[in-house]
């Protein structure tokens, strides 16, 4: 009776027939295939990411090389396809290189917060009781501050630099992601299939891994993807205030900040970093929305 390998069902062995119905993720992909808006913006995101990755190859100039002679030149001036900034640096090169920092600012804090906040939320939701109260009330303390203020306060305390900026943004996003994960876990935990899993002798870790995470990952992932644009904007905001990326490193937020003095001299050139931020965050928002629809099982 204690030998776990002793399954003595009077069953005959036979080759299992191939699965005819596609799995969950395959069905999500299938639904996305017909969502042209999401596909379009997904392509834009991929293009932006590729441009950022291959910035060193694509950028025509050194993004930090200044030139007193060519300051604040308009779009299309000689070799400067998108003009130059207030120190005579090539805008196109700076936008390409700036995409690297801005995307890092958008993706890294959200990914980190998803892991940490998601984990805390699942623990809080699954354990319940005082563990839940302890974790969630701590989150509420962070939640009470406006996110911009909190990001500024944390990165101000830690000091400037893109690394500290990312840490600050991660801390800002943890409470909200934790809350989403906690509520999803609490919903799932009380259902009979969790009881049934426990009744089949599964350990807590196995239940969380096989039965809880699958149901929590969806909502958390969707929520986190909507935070990417927020993170890019907040990161740009931090740089704008001089708390995130330090000059001369190119970053869209920082460029927007330093160029705002020249807005009357070259309006189009000065608006370019803002346009880049706008397109990127809009794309992430719309793709996140499309994902939410595609991942809704009963759609």
């Amino acid at each position: 009776m204690t030998d776990v390998s002793a399954f003595r069902l009077p069953l005959f062995r036979r080759k299992r027939e191939a699965r005819e119905v596609r799995g969950y993720w395959a069905s999500v992909v299938n639904r996305l295939r017909y969502d042209y808006v999401t596909l379009f913006f997904l392509t834009i995101i991929l293009a932006i990411i590729l441009l950022a990755i291959f910035a060193p190859l694509l950028a025509p100039f050194d993004p930090t090389k200044t030139s007193m002679a060519y300051r604040m030149k308009p779009v299309g001036f000689r070799n400067f396809i998108l003009g130059t900034d207030e120190l005579g640096r090539d805008m196109l090169s700076r936008l390409l290189w700036g995409g690297r920092t801005s995307l890092m600012m958008g993706l890294v804090p959200v990914a980190a917060a998803m892991v940490i906040g998601g984990l805390l939320g699942v623990i809080a939701g699954f354990r319940g009781g005082w563990v839940n109260s302890a974790i969630m009330r701590t989150m509420d303390v962070f939640y009470a501050f406006p996110s911009v203020l909190l990001a500024v306060a944390i990165s101000g305390t830690l000091g400037g630099g893109s690394k500290n900026g990312m840490i600050a943004l991660t801390l800002v996003f943890i409470p909200s992601i934790c809350r989403v994960a906690e509520s999803a876990t609490t919903q799932v935990r009380g259902l009979d299939f969790v009881e049934a899993a426990r009744a089949s002798g599964a350990s807590t870790m196995s239940i969380i891994w096989h039965h809880i995470l699958g149901n929590v990952l969806g909502p958390v992932f969707i929520f986190a993807s909507s935070l990417i644009s927020v993170s890019i904007l907040l990161g740009s905001g931090l740089s704008f205030l001089g708390l995130g990326v330090e000059p001369p490193t190119p970053d869209w937020g920082l460029m927007l900040s330093t160029l705002r003095a020249g807005i009357y001299v070259q309006p189009l050139v000065c608006a370019l970093p803002g346009v880049a931020i706008f397109i990127t965050s809009l794309s992430f928002n719309l793709v996140s929305d499309g994902l939410r629809q595609a991942m809704d099982v009963k759609a």
Binding site: M1, F7, G23, F193, A196, H211, V297
Partner: protein
């Protein structure tokens, strides 16, 4: 209900499986009951106020003792809130009991020397009432069935083969239904999956907690037939919890009547249904509707709600609704006493010399 339910029925093998009288898992012998429950008790504490002070207990299951014989079906009936489902969860050890002991085939469950919980759960499985929420919406049903064996160390290929075989056994063609998600199945099909999942660990006993109550009548009948077939094929013992008295009569060998967390009457299905002795059992059975239109029910056989389980009446818990209540009923709680060869009743009217003016049986 989809037409596939009917396809499923044809897939049940028609030949009768050979009588599995010799089960090598049997440890205690034929006479040893499969499960003995002794003095099982579960109080849910009620806390209130800022300090969460303990102000009382919901006495959901209070001193319940019974045994389940090998190969039988024990029906458990009682009105809503009498502790049937709590009892099921206590038997599965899904919630800890406050006191009481369980003996599974001669082995005491839990404790230092007893049968480990993991082994108990291999041998005892449960089918839940809500067929939808008892399946993980993100797992194909064959993975749900294969999960239990996987937990107990079976490799993935074998577990999936087993799951597919079991889905076939419960009348769902694995090649057609295995990879589907719960929301793609009907209620009856989902409950079949749940039954397959319960069978996956090759248990000796299955607790069916209102397993067919949520199904419509035709599907319910199919699932009941399936349960009977599986019981013979896999040599199972059932604990069948239901509020449907007709279904319990159909499927059970013995019946246990619960009232407010206590056993009021237990006996063979014929004894309980032909000569119910406890006033509550009689009222419960009288509340069944007659199939004869001329034989209409004019007044309710039992009125009022059951008393609050936080503060149950003294003595016999049924006395507040009992037509024969006397002073002895308030003073003293009746214990189960024998009223027939396989018939035990907890009522003062059954026991000679209890002080009650009437004597039944």
């Amino acid at each position: 209900m989809s037409a596939f339910d009917f396809i499923g029925v044809d897939l049940i093998p028609q030949e009768e499986p050979q009588a599995a009288s010799l089960d090598e898992r049997d440890r205690g012998g034929k006479q040893q009951p499969m499960l003995i429950v002794n003095g099982l008790r579960k109080y849910f504490p009620i806390r209130s106020g800022i300090l969460q002070r303990h102000v009382g207990d919901v006495k959901a299951v209070d001193d319940v003792s019974f045994s389940v014989l090998k190969g039988e079906t024990l029906g458990i009936v009682g009105e809503s809130g009498c502790g049937k489902s709590t009892l099921a969860r206590l038997l599965m050890h899904l919630i800890p009991s406050d006191s009481g002991e369980m003996i599974f085939d001669g082995d005491p469950v839990g404790g230092m020397r007893g049968l480990p919980l993991r082994d108990l759960r291999r041998n005892m499985q449960m089918v839940f009432q809500d067929s939808y929420s008892s399946l993980n919406p993100r797992l194909p049903v064959q993975d749900s069935v294969a999960y239990g064996p996987r937990v107990h160390g079976m490799n993935r290929t074998d577990a999936m083969d087993l799951a597919c075989d079991l889905l076939d056994k419960v009348g769902l063609r694995a090649s057609m239904f295995g990879a589907r998600y719960p929301h793609e199945l009907s209620g009856g099909q989902k409950q079949r999956v749940n039954i397959a999942r319960a069978l996956a660990l090759n248990p000796r006993m299955i607790i069916l907690d209102e397993a067919v109550s949520a199904l419509d009548k035709s599907v319910e009948a199919q699932v009941l037939n399936l349960l009977g077939h599986l019981k013979r094929e896999f040599n199972l013992t059932y604990v069948f919890i239901s509020h449907d008295l007709n279904v319990v009569q159909y499927i059970s060998d013995r019946v246990l009547v619960m009232y407010l967390g206590q056993v009021v009457e237990i006996g063979s299905v014929d004894a309980i249904y032909d000569t119910p002795l406890h006033p509550y059992s009689r009222a419960l059975l009288d509340s069944r509707l007659s199939m004869d239109p001329d034989d209409r029910m004019t007044e309710p056989p039992i009125s009022g709600d059951p008393p609050n389980p936080v503060n149950p009446p003294s003595g016999c818990r049924f006395r507040t609704r009992c037509a024969f209540a006397e002073t002895v009923c308030a003073a003293e709680a009746p214990s189960l006493s024998q009223a027939g060869p396989d018939h035990f009743v907890a009522c003062h009217m059954v026991r000679r010399g209890s002080g009650h003016s009437r004597l039944l049986s």
